[in-house]
């Protein structure tokens, strides 16, 4: 399976997840979107040595994974993409931040703490956006974005791109396979055909765009209305869900909940 095919499969997998009839899936997309942004903002705003404060934020992903009945393993596979850059930025902290913190009888480096929080932030924010897309379809999300008054042009753009990505990914997948079968010892596309290989696809894509436009015209398109928005009204349950989590985020963000709870036991 080459990269393009993998990407196409990932899109359809996420779409299938988002279409399941789970409780979390039924929450209004706007609420989920704002919660996700709020959660990520809260997570990344933690001070850089506050490991335990940050750790408390795990309640949201844990609860959503459980309620949404999602596989944690699939989500963690996506970390491969994100973690490298975060690691590069974080791995130097232990070397460069030579401050030491006493931990009982041992001294540990403050840099290690800041590295841990940075990685924690990376993992949590990624899980949160995964939870959003795995419980919300692209169209529902667009409905939410249009409720936020995002320009129509941007939303239409997103939806059309989303629609044709699978078509073109399949095409790239087939072309790559056809190429690889005839050039088994090459890892990628040879320099001599850089232009034609992608260029052919580009010309075909342009032709396709033309046909899409023609088929829009033939069906009465006049440039005004395009996609029908899935604008469902917000109901009390959605608001309650949002308010509950926001309160919890605030609690965990501003109070050292883990230490307080731990203190009860000790």
């Amino acid at each position: 399976m080459n990269r393009a095919e993998g990407a196409a499969r990932e899109i359809s997998r996420l779409d299938m997840l988002a279409r399941r009839d789970q409780r979390v899936n039924r929450i209004h997309p706007l609420v989920k979107f704002l919660l996700t942004v709020g959660y990520i903002a809260a997570v990344v705003s933690f001070p850089k040595y506050d490991v335990f404060g940050l750790l408390g934020m795990m309640v949201y992903p844990i609860a959503t994974f459980l309620l949404g009945e999602l596989s944690v393993r699939d989500a963690f596979r996506r970390l491969r993409v994100v973690l490298p850059l975060v690691c590069v930025a974080g791995l130097f902290n232990p070397l460069l931040d030579q401050n030491r913190v006493r931990l009982g009888d041992v001294w540990i480096s403050a840099g290690v703490l800041s590295m841990l929080t940075l990685m924690g932030k990376g993992v949590f924010s990624l899980l949160a956006s995964y939870l959003l897309i795995a419980t919300t379809t692209a169209e529902a999300l667009c409905g939410a974005l249009s409720m936020l008054r995002l320009p129509e042009a941007v939303i239409t753009q997103f939806l059309l791109t989303f629609r044709y990505i699978t078509v073109l990914l399949e095409e790239v997948g087939r072309m790559t396979q056809a190429y690889a079968l005839r050039a088994p010892r090459q890892k990628g596309v040879h320099r001599k055909v850089w232009g034609p290989f992608a260029g052919q696809l580009l010309l075909r894509s342009m032709d396709r765009a033309n046909e899409v436009y023609e088929s829009m015209l033939l069906r009465g398109f006049s440039g005004k209305r395009f996609y029908q928005r899935q604008r469902t009204p917000l109901c009390g349950r959605d608001l309650a869900y949002g308010a509950f989590w926001l309160a919890l985020f605030a609690l965990f963000r501003f109070f050292p909940v883990l230490l307080l709870v731990g203190g009860i036991f000790l």
Binding site: S12, D15, L159, R208, F221
Partner: protein, 257 residues
């Protein structure tokens, strides 16, 4: 249903200057018949169909649809009466989901939502795709895409249907379904195809295109049985007739092997 009528008179057209694809082409059609349009690759079948719906306005000659000349001011009206099914369904299914796509045209024509709903249901029922209603377009198989694309045109309730290679990429079962649908639909249809058996099965009349013109216009049976005529224009007999004629002429074909 209004009187469906296509009248093409002396139409010439080329994409580039000096290279005419259609040269003084003329034909007429009316009623509710199915018309096959055959000819070699690149002879201009798709171009002709696109001219009929006014996608390329720079032609000479006259084209009338339902009595109205194909001109800018009539386009909206003409396009609501004549539906064009693209060869590549993906070009047509640009909406995210099936019902959105089928509803695209009626919504653009400003019909009330209840009527849109009714039309979507009817169009999907006619093509036997009601069960696909909530599916995403990209998750459909090639055959399903084609049927949904046809539904997307039927929801406009056109008097005339133009189809470009409707059976391409269909498996035998879906192809049979398509043939059934083509028989049931009451519209005047022009079906451009290389699938001679499909034409033989569905069309009573056939137009043979060559060199920018209609070189033969007649009963399908007659044209598709004329091996010499077809061969002269780079075409072949329908597979179904190949055996019969060879047996009749007592000749064994070894060249297929």
């Amino acid at each position: 249903m209004r009187e469906a009528e296509i009248a093409v008179e002396g139409v010439s057209f080329g994409y580039e200057k000096g290279r005419k694809i259609l040269k003084e082409l003329s034909f007429q059609a009316s009623g509710t018949e199915n018309i096959g349009l055959i000819g070699e690759n690149g002879v201009g079948k798709s171009t002709l169909l696109k001219l009929l719906v006014g996608l390329y306005p720079e032609f000479t000659g006259t084209i009338r649809i339902g009595g109205m000349p194909v001109e800018k001011k009539n386009l909206a009206k003409i396009r609501s009466q004549i539906g064009y099914v693209f060869q590549d369904s993906d070009s047509q299914l640009f909406c995210a989901s099936v019902d959105e796509d089928v509803a695209f045209a009626p919504r653009n024509y400003g019909l009330p939502e209840a009527e849109v709903e009714r039309r979507v249901e009817r169009a999907l029922a006619m093509t036997g795709t009601l069960h696909l209603r909530d599916r995403k377009n990209y998750s459909l198989s090639g055959g399903e895409k084609k049927l949904v694309a046809i539904a997307g045109i039927l929801s406009m309730s056109p008097d005339i249907l133009l189809m470009d290679e409707p059976s391409a990429a269909l498996d035998p079962k879906n192809r049979r379904r398509l043939i059934g649908i083509l028989h049931e639909l009451p519209q005047l249809k022009i079906i451009a195809s290389h699938d001679m058996d499909l034409i033989l099965d569905t069309c009573s009349r056939t137009l043979l295109m060559a060199d920018g013109r209609i070189v033969r216009d007649g009963a399908t049976e007659e044209i598709l049985r004329d091996g010499e005529l077809l061969e002269a224009h780079g075409l072949e007999l329908p597979l179904r007739l190949q055996g019969q004629i060879e047996i009749m002429s007592g000749k064994m074909r070894t060249d297929i092997l």
